[in-house]
Point group: C2
Chain length 419, copies 2
């Protein structure tokens, strides 16, 4: 489960997280599938369109990119969420982002939603819509509409259909990413099934990040939105720069409410358990997104503590996690604490060098700003690993934040030098 290995103290109901790329198919009364409709017009059979359909009507929540430039499906899904009460699913294509496509793009995104609703025999406008892929080209609706028709005819809850759905949203990802969470509430098993796509280098991330979450929880829309926003803030937003999101970034959550036990502020423990389960699911998917970053070789957890505020800690973590020099040194397995401190210093949060403690895993590199050079061999051993933690204590206050980052490789540059 990557880095999320801390015990869930608050949990009353034995949370189990399973690494399951077919997770979406395993939540009761959701049917899913993925098909190929050749969005990119390459004549291949790459899976590039997926649908999720809920037999029961769902409450829905969404978190979207904050980029000034928003892709058409983001605008349409926002509108649908703002106007609609209940939803029955979503449709998502890969290969074309439907971004920077003007009025035509908005019409196409709306047409995808309408066609998916119609083909699933669901009310009009009850399907949300996402796209990811190339920017600035119109969607090939002559292939996407038949794709929706085909996919709608194949919706079921077989594990292979869940896998196909998780596969169909990918772009430069090397593997599908899924997570199934299960926990108990009053003797009933509740579930969240999630799948996601990432790639790009995540920080600074302009590659689209998509995550889809399905749950059996019974909860009102306003509270669902709040719980989702918190979960995203502490997971997907810890792997990407604020304001640095792509035109298409989207996290959608559908709750079909088939659970017999409604969750609300009046059931604080159940609500807390759901928060925990959703938070852990999002964190698991976020970690999988980082770990599959384009051509990366290392995943690094940057823990900043002792800042004057959580916001300050986040600034420091992002400066470190986004520094090209720091990322390059990780790639070279160079435990370069000088570059780390450099990067922390330009966050400009009043860092005092003489107070800084820095650890590679548990090995001190700096204590009160003084290099612990006797540990040099131990630092090198840590930074040579594929996953490690760097902990920086500013000793200024109680603010903290954890950022997940990666190294920067020659392969990344090569991969991105042309489309």
């Amino acid at each position: 489960m990557g880095f999320s290995n801390q015990p869930v103290n608050s949990m009353s109901g034995n949370l189990i997280l399973e690494n399951d790329i077919a997770a979406a198919a395993k939540v009761d009364r959701f049917n899913v599938n993925g098909v190929s409709c050749d969005v990119r017009n390459k004549g291949d059979d790459r899976l590039d369109l997926c649908m999720v359909h809920s037999i029961s009507s769902c409450t829905a929540a969404g978190v979207f990119t904050k980029n000034d430039v928003q892709a058409a499906p983001v605008s349409i899904s926002r509108q649908l969420l703002a106007k609609g009460d209940t939803f029955h699913g979503f449709v998502c294509n890969s290969g074309n982002a439907n971004a920077c496509t003007g009025e035509q793009g908005l019409r196409d995104a709306e047409a995808m939603s309408l066609e998916a609703s119609r083909q699933a025999n669901a009310p009009a406008r009850s399907f949300l819509v996402c796209s990811t892929g190339r920017i600035g080209e119109f969607l090939p609706m002559d292939r996407i509409v038949p794709g929706i028709q085909k996919c709608a005819g194949m919706l079921d809850s077989l594990p292979e259909s869940g896998e196909r759905a998780a596969q169909a949203i990918l772009t430069s990802d090397t593997r599908p990413k899924g997570c199934l969470a299960k926990w108990e509430m009053e003797g009933e098993e509740l579930t969240i099934g999630g799948f996601a796509k990432g790639a790009g280098m995540i920080e600074p991330n302009m590659a689209t990040m998509l995550a889809f979450l399905l749950t059996s929880v019974n909860i009102k829309q306003g509270l669902l939105q709040e719980v989702l926003a918190d979960a995203v803030e502490n997971s997907f937003n810890r792997i990407t720069i604020d304001g640095d999101m792509s035109t298409n970034d989207t996290v959608l959550l559908l709750a079909n409410g088939i659970s017999e036990n409604p969750i609300s502020e009046k059931t604080p423990q159940a609500l807390e358990d759901f928060r925990e389960a959703l938070g852990r699911t999002c964190l698991d998917l976020a970690e999988k997104v980082v770990a599959d970053g384009e051509r990366i070789t290392k995943v690094v957890r940057v823990e900043v503590e002792g800042a004057s505020s959580d916001a300050d800690a986040q600034k420091v973590g992002r400066c470190i996690g986004n520094s090209l020099l720091v990322k390059s040194s990780w790639y070279g397995a160079d435990p370069n604490w000088g570059r780390l401190v450099h990067a922390a210093g330009y966050a400009r949060v009043g860092l005092k060098m003489e107070k800084v403690d820095l650890y590679y895993q548990d090995v001190p590199a700096l204590l009160a700003g003084t290099p612990q050079t006797k540990n040099r061999t131990a630092w090198k051993a840590v930074v040579s690993k594929g996953r490690f933690t760097i902990r920086l204590n500013l000793n200024l206050g109680i603010g903290s934040c954890t950022i997940l980052s990666t190294d920067l490789t020659e392969g990344y540059v090569d991969f991105n030098k042309s489309e």
Copy 2:
């Protein structure tokens, strides 16, 4: 002269800028040189210590890094400038940054200043001090002090001494960088001689940037500081992220006042001419720093206009100029307007896609947000060049800013993966 090819309209005295790495030796009554004192203890004869000595006492101004972590020589030079009235020069070593070196580092920086003053027969504390190179190691004072003694004995105004000084401050730069500005005032020739070092990828820059400027101008300290701050803001600060400076970044300006014509607010044209000359000198050096970025293959001028404010334009320019995906696409000569717009959008200045005009040199790529795909071949031709300009008009207001950036290459990552 790189990109600074606009006519200097305000100039009354025929400004001439010369590309001259020996420029420091060509300003009257300054003596300079550079020596090898094996700062890195590698037994090589790399030039790594330089001194500049003014026979006359100088007014001095300085602009320093805003990083929370400031190297010892930055602290000491700041203190000297705050306390002192007149100065006689500076001393600078490369190979060791004297950063993150605590109390010992401060003592060493002060000792460098004192030793340089003494050896030049100048008043105590009349030499400013800089260092650049590796972080976190104490200066080898047993080699630096003899280096200062040696250099002080070789100070003169021969061109080769100017070249050696410019060479001695370099780290991963591939070549020395100098600029000589000359203009006339009341029949008298005034000069500014400057030299600089850069390297690193500049954006995000953690590599030390140093620039030294010497002039014959006769001007009071407060005004000198103001003119320098303006010049730096529009040159060196246009190639580096705000707050993203290294622990050692320093720009120093010494004015020996031998000119017979004092410059002040009471001589507005002469003051304006000096502003122009200093601004152009700094811009020229800044461009040379960018063009010598580590392993870059392209220099890109990003002109943002039509923003609601200059500050907004700067945010957009920096987002574009620092985007790894944009920089990688420049490297691959891929005219990827989608990534550019993406990056502009996450500056979050209220960009409206339907208003955006984007040009590669003079070739429109987007007009009112609509791709001009008929020009695709022409875009590709522009982005294939080693130097080109990208112009983005947001059509929201009159704010503008120009940022100089570079591509991101596999070579950069390889170069920085270990020290």
